[in-house]
Amino acid sequence: MSNLLTAEIDDLLKPAAALTVIICVGNTLRSDDGVGPYIASYLSNSKLLAVIDAGYNPENFIGEAAGLKPGRIVIIDAADFGGKAGEVKVINEGDIPGASLSTHAIPLKVIYHILKEDTASEIKFIGIQPKEVRHGECLSPEVRAAADKIITKIKKEFTDA
C-alpha cells in the first residue's frame, strides 16, 4: 500500500528525549489540504507531545511553537510531490516550496527558516500526497487512511510514553 509509513517517519513519530511539537498545517475547506487539521483534531497534548493546529496561517504560531522549547518539531501538511494519493514522505529542507498557494500567505519555507533560527530543535516536514485540493470539506479515502495511520501511530507512541 502507498500509505504505509516508512521507517524514517516511524522514527519521527516516536517520543524523543525532549518535547515534540507537531504543527499541523492546512485549509479544511480545500479537501485533502485539510489533512493537517484533521490529524490535529484527533490528538491531545501529553508530557512529551504538544500539538498545534496552525490551520492556514502557520506563521502566527511560530512564537508559540518556539516558546515550548521543543527538542523536535514535526510539521505535517499536504504536499504535492508527485506521489500516489495518500503517500507519506519526509520532505527535505531543499524541497520545501518557496511559493504559497495564496498570494497573501507566508511561504512555508520562511516559517521553516525562522523556526530553525529560534529553536535548537530538529525540524522535520512530513508531507502527505493529496488526491484533491479543490474546494471541499472531505478528505479522499486514500488521504484519510494515511492520516488515520499517522494518528494511530502517534497516539500509541505518546500515550505509552
Binding site: E59, H104, I106, P107, V110, I114
Partner: protein, 441 residues
Amino acid sequence: MSRNVKVNVEYLTRVEGHGNIVVNVKDGKLEECRLDIVEAPRFFEGMLRGRSIFEAQHITSRICGICACGHTLASIQAGEDALGLRPSEQTIKLRKLLLHQEMLDSHILHIYLLVAPDLLGVKSFVPLIDTHHKVVRRALRMKKTFNDVCDILVGRHVHPISAIVGGFTKLPKEKDLDAMLDMLKGLRPDMEATMELLSTLKFPGFERETEYVALVNDADEYPLLEGDIGSTDGLRISKKDYLKLTNEFVVPHSSAKHAKASRESYMVGALARLNLNYKKLHPRAKKAAELLKIKPITTNPFLNTAAQAVECVHCLEESISILEDLKEKGVNQDEAIVVGLNEKGTIPVKAGNGVGAVEVPRGILFHNYEIDKDGKIVNADCVIPTGQNLNNIEHDMRKLVPEILDKKDEEITLAMEMLVRAYDPCISCSAHFLDVKFVNR
C-alpha cells in the same frame, strides 16, 4: 524610436487572482496595451437572492479572504440602510476598529510581501530571509498582531463571526481592551521602522494625473467607514447614487467590468484617499507622509504603496485612540445582539433599498441590496474597488509604455508588473485577473 516590443505576462505574480499583461509595440507605435482579466465570474449577487439580510454579511465576507471584514461591514451597512436602522456610537467605534485592523493587515502584507521584493531587487519574499532578516521578522510580527486583534474583536482573523446587522453578538471585556491596547502600542517601533525602511527605497518615477475618488465628509475624521462619494474633479454625491460614479461597462478582454466617472477613468485606494483627505490624517501619519515625500495631489500611481504606509500609521494610532476611549467609557455589554437571523424580531423589518459604502484597503467598496417586507434579499449589487481601478490601470499602462521604450524588454515587463502591483489588485474579487503579453514592439 522604431522598435518592436512584445510583452505577454501570463499570469502576473504577486497579485491576488489571475490577470495577463499584453503589450504590443510595432515600429515604435503602441498597438495593443491591456490588462486581461481571465477569472470566472463569482455570482455572489445571485447567491444572495432569497437570503435573509441578517445573514448576508456571512455570505459576502467570502468574496475575499483579505477584505473579509470590509465586505462584512459594507454588507451590514447596506442592510441597516435598507432597514432604516442607525447603529449605536459604541457599535460604530468597534466597526471602525475592525476596519483599521483589516487596513493594517492588508497594507502590511502588500508592502512587505508583494512590493518590497521588487524594490529590494529580489524575485519574491523568500530570499529576504537571508538578506533582510529583520524585515521578514517585522512583517510577520505585525501581521500576527493585526490578526490577533481581529480575532479578539470578531471571533477570528478572517470571515468575522460576531459582527452582524444591529451590532455585535459578543463585545470585548476590559481584559480584551487591555490586551488589544498592549499589542497595538507595542507595535509602534515596528511601524516607525517600516516608515524608515520605505523612506530608503526608490519608487519608479511616473506621473499621470487622473480623477481620484474616495469617501469624503464634513467632519474632522479621515473617512473610512462612512461618508459621501467625493472626487478630485469636484464630484460629491450620496452613497445612494453610487451608480452615477461607477458607470460600469464591459470590455471584451476582461471578465471584470470597467468603470469611469467624470473623465476616461478614475482611481480608488490609499492614494486617492490621501489625495482627498490628507488634512484629516493623524499627526503621526502626516509626519510619515513627510518622510515618504508624499502629499496631495500625488499623481504617481507607484506611490500608492507609500500612501498605504501612511495609512498604516493613521490606522494604528486611531485604533489606539478608539481603544483608550472605550476603556475610559467602558463597553456596555447590554448592547450585545442575540445570535441568529433576528428570529425574535428584535430589529423591525420592512421592505427597502440600502447602500453600504466602505473604504477597504484597495478603495471604496459598494454593496446595494433591495429587500422585501420579510427582510429577504430580492436584488444585490457589489462593486469592488479593483474593478473600479482596472480602467485606470490600463490608461496608466498606455502612458507608461511609450515613456520606457528605450529600456530592455525585461525591464519594460518588470515596470508593467510593478505598476499593476502598485494598485494591490484583488483580481479574484473584481472577477479575477493578471498575466503580461508583449506582442511586438
